[in-house]
Symmetry: C2
């Protein structure tokens, strides 16, 4: 199977047990369901998946257990970017050895206001130390959360130095014009929208797809957008995009991971779906009710569980 | 020896070898020199010390090697706050078992805009899981870098739930009025300024001292401030504070860790003092020259090396 490089990715939630340890079996079931319902690939252990709330050992085990649970490595784009380069190197190497399609790499995100030289050195250290031709790096641009933006000069320099290895970027900035500019500036570099509402507009301007939190429940809608766009059916693409935007609007009135875990708990009847690691917290009863009402108003339910 | 709880702390630099591995022997010499030249205690593995650029294993080893190098644990306030609670728990427990005076704990700093409930849960999980009466937690408030401010409602709640354990706060916000308000609101809770220029004004309003990057080269000046203030000699305290401010102004024209490593390299003749982990970078030759000139203009040199 060719490793996935574009299309619809869910930024997969990581289900936990009530004691906050990862629920590996439920995670494998969730990922299988996502692949059966619109996802071309899965971006596991990203922001939505609480990656940075897990230790390096937990992150490695989450990937291993997912693979042994039957999810193909070639569909996976795990997040491996940590603050400390030795951690990023270890997780990236581990993921590559296990055959993943690529890795999504945050810049070191503790220090703010760092230079392009420093960011280039950080990515460079990781790529050189991993030293594996199979490595495919997707940069993770999320200035609002990481506090460390990734600009065109950095991308250009990385592409020149590591062609074929530096493969694309997830852009979670919400800035559609910026995503379009990146896709135009670097042909062949895959720009994936981190915001559902940017999917169709970005596809029209050379973007490669999306990686979104809402994909945990509504990837089928994103898949319709991609399919209709590819078939040249602009009207159908618009319709699916509008519907996807409505789901996004309902969910994003709340913190995303907690809201999506709430939806999955309600949908599956599995109470522990609500478990979330601090500093994130579950939705309150009132918030959960408001979310349920908002989804009712647009008559949205996730696809049936397998 | 009574564990240190107040006074002058350097936010100690972590010297590296040219291959970016920690130079344990040089670190022990640096810390000994700091304790011999004005420091009451050492805040190791904080922002200045590049803590988040080291793996958990490296951080544990840095502490262990420092202790075996002869630095007393009761003088140390290591940083142990990570994004992932299991990491924070492991490092905190390790530090407590080794007898440190206390630990400086960043909130989980990846997610932004988190609630007080989430921050309380995060600190609470750490304290409960470490479960050791010897634990002394100093909260680390550095909104500009961590992106996660710690407010009075959180402090109040933690103090009520964990009296004796939650011991104080390093306030690196630069907001003197905020530090004073915290010191007044919570008597007995030790507020330590993260900015040199706040030292004397904060001491006058009930603060407990400072933890600063500039303490790596100018702790003797901070010690003069504290001593003169304690002796009721306001004029001498002001004079030392002004001098300290001048050093701070010269150094903080540049990124702090790189600037201070540059000063130590020049002062010691040890070229590898300049080594720094990405995403931080060394000063350029021009920046280093500007820094040297600025320090020359105020006729500042660090104390002689032992």
């Amino acid at each position: 199977m060719t490793p996935v490089t574009s299309g619809v990715f869910a930024a997969a939630l990581t289900p936990l047990h009530e004691d906050l340890s990862p629920d590996h079996a439920l995670f494998a079931r969730h990922c299988r369901w996502l692949l059966d319902n619109g996802c071309d690939g899965l971006s596991i252990l990203g922001t939505t998946g609480e990656a940075n709330s897990f230790s390096r050992e937990e992150r490695a085990e989450i990937l291993e257990r997912l693979l042994s649970g039957g999810i193909p490595a070639g569909r996976l784009l795990p997040g491996t970017g940590c603050c400390a380069i030795p951690d990023t190197v270890a997780l990236t190497r581990h993921a590559v050895v296990h055959g993943v399609a690529g890795v999504l790499v945050l810049p070191p995100f503790y220090y703010k206001g760092v230079s392009d030289d420093g960011l280039f050195a950080a990515y460079s250290e990781v790529i050189e130390r991993v030293g594996d031709g199979r490595l495919r790096v997707y940069l993770y641009h999320f200035p609002q959360m990481a506090g460390v933006p990734l600009g065109h000069r950095l991308i250009e320099r990385l592409l020149r130095r590591y062609p074929g290895i530096v493969a694309g970027m997830k852009d979670s900035s919400g800035d559609l014009q910026g995503m379009i500019a990146t896709a135009r500036a670097f042909p062949g570099f895959r720009v994936l929208a981190g915001s559902d509402e940017c999917l169709l507009p970005l596809l029209r301007e050379g973007g490669s797809g999306c990686i979104t939190a809402v994909g945990n429940v509504a990837a089928a809608l994103a898949a319709k957008v991609v399919k209709a766009h590819a078939a040249g059916d602009g009207a159908a693409a618009e319709t699916a995009q509008s519907r996807l935007n409505a789901v996004r609007a309902a969910v994003s009135a709340h913190p995303l991971s907690a809201a999506l875990k709430e939806i999955m708990a309600g949908h599956s009847g599995v109470e522990s779906w609500r478990a979330i690691r601090p500093p994130l917290v579950r939705l309150t009863t009132a918030e959960a009710a408001a979310l349920a009402s908002a989804l009712d108003r647009i008559a949205f339910t996730p696809p049936p569980l397998g």
